[in-house]
Amino acid sequence: MNFLNTVFLYGLPLMALPVVVHLLARRRRKVIPWGAMQFLAQANPKARRSWRLKDLFLLLLRILVIACFVFALARPLVPAAWLGGHDTRDLIVVMDHSMSTQWDFGGETVHERQVELLDELLAEYEETDYIRCLQVKEAAAWLTEAPLKANPETKARVREHLTVTQGPNWTHSDHLAALEMAWTADPATPNAVRQVVLITDGQREGWDLEQTARWRAISERVEAFPSGSELRVLRVPWDDGETRDNLTVTALRAGREVVALGEPVALRATIQHFGETASSSRVVRWHLGDEMLGMATVPPLSPGASTTVALEHPIDSVGRHRFRVTLESGDGLAIDDQGEVLVQVAQGLPVLVVASVRDQDRATRYLQAALGSFEEAHEGVFHGTMIAPDELAGIRLADYRAIIITQVAASMLGSMGELETFVREGGGLWLAPGPETEVNLFNALFRTTAALAPASLAQGPPIEQASEPEWVSPPIQQHPATILLADTERLDLDELQLRRHHSFQKPLPGDLSVLLRTHEGEPLVVERAIEKGRVITQGFPLGQSWSNLPALQIYVALVYEWLWYLAEPGLPRLNLGRRESYEWQVDHRPPIESAVEQTPDGRERALTLLDTGIHHRSVRMSGPLQPGHHLVTVSQGGEMVRTTEFLVAREPAESNLAQIQGDTEDQLRSFGITFDQEEARSRRNQPDGETRQESLWFWLLMGMLVFLIGESALASSIARHRQLTKQGVRHTPITR
């Protein structure tokens, strides 16, 4: 108990005043010498004591009157629990709004059941408590960050915030991040008991239990919260007793997101069954935009099994296209029965070819034949530009997606820095030194001056096959650059013969990949990634001097595949992962001034602009990203410059509705979580004196008033009784 005005406590000795008066009155008691003692002694002892009781009661009332008065002036503060109340509670409602909460039980969704739990929860809180709410989607976000008094208006507001759903929702809950955010929030009041309640569908996914360090940090915060704490998870009951059929499209991917005009797009949809019993066969439909492309049948799947359906479809128009696969609906979660992917049909990707003017190898001609033309006007995917090594210094490399260098010259030394920057920022470099290349100069430029080549070429003359040409092994190792080349049924890589080739200096660095080897296992083509960009170095030229490559079918495919592979990092991304961050450069004069992202749920957020040059700005979109379609609009001077569409994939595990149980539940309990209506572990980390306190002065004044009235009534009753007795009203006279 604390007092606001302790000085008044010095008045407490006044409580002794009635006692003193009482004792003085007793000392003044009249002594009567009396003879007829036997008649007094016969009087009922209780009757004799009753006066004492009344007297003492009167004394007590007077003491209480003074005590109440003094204490009321001292303004005592007592813990609210003493008055039948409770400590101030600082409730943070964390609502799981992930995709799985849209499961329909048949008339009622999980989310609606969550709202029922929310209503029951809010009903327990009074106006002395505080409420805040967090919404959990791909990232936790405060709906009401400031703690609000738990009055009916606040409850209605919280309910409204947590009930409204905006359109389709493919999000994946990050409970861990949400709970971290809740526990790091400032307390509503210094003494409020922190209560974090997560209302969820009970799905096992989304807890990131492998992040034990973060969970332990939360657990420690819960334990150490100064004014007491509780971390509770309320789960929607799934006890409908039905076995659920839950087929879902976990992924839809295109072989390449950017394709050439007329080039078939390879689509693969993965369909997995998360239900508890074997599924029935289903129909899937392919769509390009709103146009249906075809149908396929998914065979019955056992629980946990998955299957893949594929489609190849050429696109005859340049631009971004949306492919969609939909699964015939048959379970309570229809929203995960579809998958989407964006594909761009590109034209005119610039490629720079650095070649010898003499072109003894004729590589330039073959490349020109493969790419179509070195003129800008042709309709091919890649637009090649040929320059001599001496001209490299005057070229703005950022304008190209990939650079093919077939001839090395000392004059390139001054451009090596730019070349390295070009690669690091996502450009592709294909080093295919021709027969005129000096090994030492190559190594000096691409290994010593700029660490670009994956490996150094071995010193000395190239390896020459005297009698039999060397054969090339089809690639076995899975690599994105060789998937198509490995198809020897359609292509003729197995017919590639080398008369001469450079070898790479041994040992090879560990960070490279070998794309092609000879039959003896000698590396012929190696690749490595340097930051965003990629570099391919091959030990034989692209012309006819050392191999029969230009004469094979595979030549064009190889050129395209590897140019796609090299150019891909610099191409705009269309499909992003939810945890990815993506940064791209926007060329515009004058430079753009703003970039706004419109998220799938209709919200807008400003994106960060990075100054990457005089006329260039990079736009950064940071994850975690909400699954679904995002539109990023960049503007300059208030006018829209460009709108770019992105598709963020959803988390496949979100479709798995398996519930928290067993070890998972125990593990979460070990982190301080209480489930449903379990009794919370008592966590009172501070002495009672520091809990919410209420002033008693009003009650003390009321008490004083009551005691005063009682004292007056009792005193007047006694006086009246005495007066009546004195007047003899109550008695009949003695007869003798």
């Binding site: 008691r29 009249k30 002594v31 009567i32 010498p33 009396w34 003879g35 007829a36 003692m37 036997q38 008649f39 007094l40 002694a41 016969q42 009087a43 009922n44 009757a47 004799r48 009753s50 006066w51 007297d55 009784h721 005495r722 007066q723 007795t725 004195k726 003899g728 109550r730 008695h731 006279p733 003695i734 007869t735 003798r736």
Partner: protein, 307 residues
């Protein structure tokens, strides 16, 4: 007969005036030492003629009225009222409770005055008067005398008596029964705060010996109405260090109820034994009260006595 020294200290002048011409008359025939011998009880020839009655065998021949026989030829016995002296024993209770007083004289003082008045009256009639002071520590007994100097002795003892200590009334009466052989009258001045059945038994014994008993029951008005209002300490007058702290208002009903029961028992006991019960209250004028009583007694005496 002039008032002896000390009398005026004991009796108020107005009480003396009201008692001046009164004559104490016994209502029963008692053994009188004036008539003497064992025949005193018989109708005898000493004093006043009373009546005739028919002779029956066994009567003394000397008592025949020969004149009546001469006239009527019938035997009648001539009867006389024998006038004897009244042998009175005055018993004064000097227990502590008799010392109670508030606004009026104490019961002891009141009783002592009554003793003095009645002693003077009786001695004025030349009736022997004895005194018994019922005191546990210093009991006093003066045998009945009717001499002129006896009254001085009587008053001397009376004035030396004080009210203190426990009551000793019943043992005193027991002692008196053993000592007093001549039948007479016992005049008890007491508040009778004793065990009523024990007192009743003793009175029966006294009455059985042929004595007449008058119990002057002296009470203070405060004892009768108990009109106290302040919480007080009631200090016992008979037992040292015995007191009761109480609120009179609370116990008054029970006190008065107990007192009324006691008074009823006492009165019934007296009447049942053939004793006279005379309630006295200390705020009443002593002379007037005694005069009224003696007038009443006198009328009753006239009823049985032919003079």
């Amino acid at each position: 007969m002039g008032a002896p020294h000390g009398f005026h200290d004991l009796v108020l002048p107005e009480d003396q005036a009201s008692l001046a011409d009164l004559e104490f008359v016994a209502t029963q025939i008692v053994d009188g030492f004036m008539a003497g011998g064992h025949r005193s009880k018989m109708k005898g020839g000493c004093t006043d003629f009373a009546e005739h009655r028919a002779y029956s065998p066994g009567d003394e021949v000397r008592l025949l009225d020969w004149r009546v026989y001469a006239k009527s030829d019938r035997y009648y016995i001539k009867q006389f009222d024998e006038e004897t002296n009244l042998n009175a024993i005055l018993v004064l209770d000097t227990s502590g409770s008799m010392g109670f007083r508030l606004d009026n004289p104490s019961k002891f003082a009141y009783g002592r005055a009554a003793c003095a008045v009645l002693a003077r009256l009786l001695l004025g009639q030349r009736d022997p008067v004895g005194l018994a002071i019922s005191h546990l520590a210093e009991p006093t007994y003066i045998p009945p005398r009717s001499t002129a100097t006896h009254f001085h002795l009587f008053l001397n003892h009376l004035s030396k008596a004080t009210a203190s200590g426990p009551t000793n009334l019943v043992p005193t009466l027991d002692e008196m029964v053993r000592r007093v052989r001549h039948r007479g009258v016992f005049l008890l001045f007491t508040d009778a705060f004793v065990d009523v059945p024990a007192l009743e038994q003793k009175l029966r014994v006294i009455r059985g010996r042929g004595h007449q008993v008058v119990l002057f029951h002296i009470m203070a008005p405060e004892e009768l109405d108990f009109a106290f209002s302040a919480s007080s300490r009631f200090q016992c007058l008979e037992v040292n260090d015995y007191h009761l702290d109480l609120d009179p208002v609370v116990v008054r009903d029970q006190y008065l109820s107990g007192l009324q029961t006691y008074l009823d028992q006492l009165k019934a006991a007296c009447i049942g034994c053939g004793c006279d019960y005379l309630p006295l209250t200390t705020h009443e004028p002593l002379g007037e009260t005694l005069a009224n009583y003696l007038r009443k007694r006198s009328r009753q005496s006239n009823f049985v006595r032919t003079r």
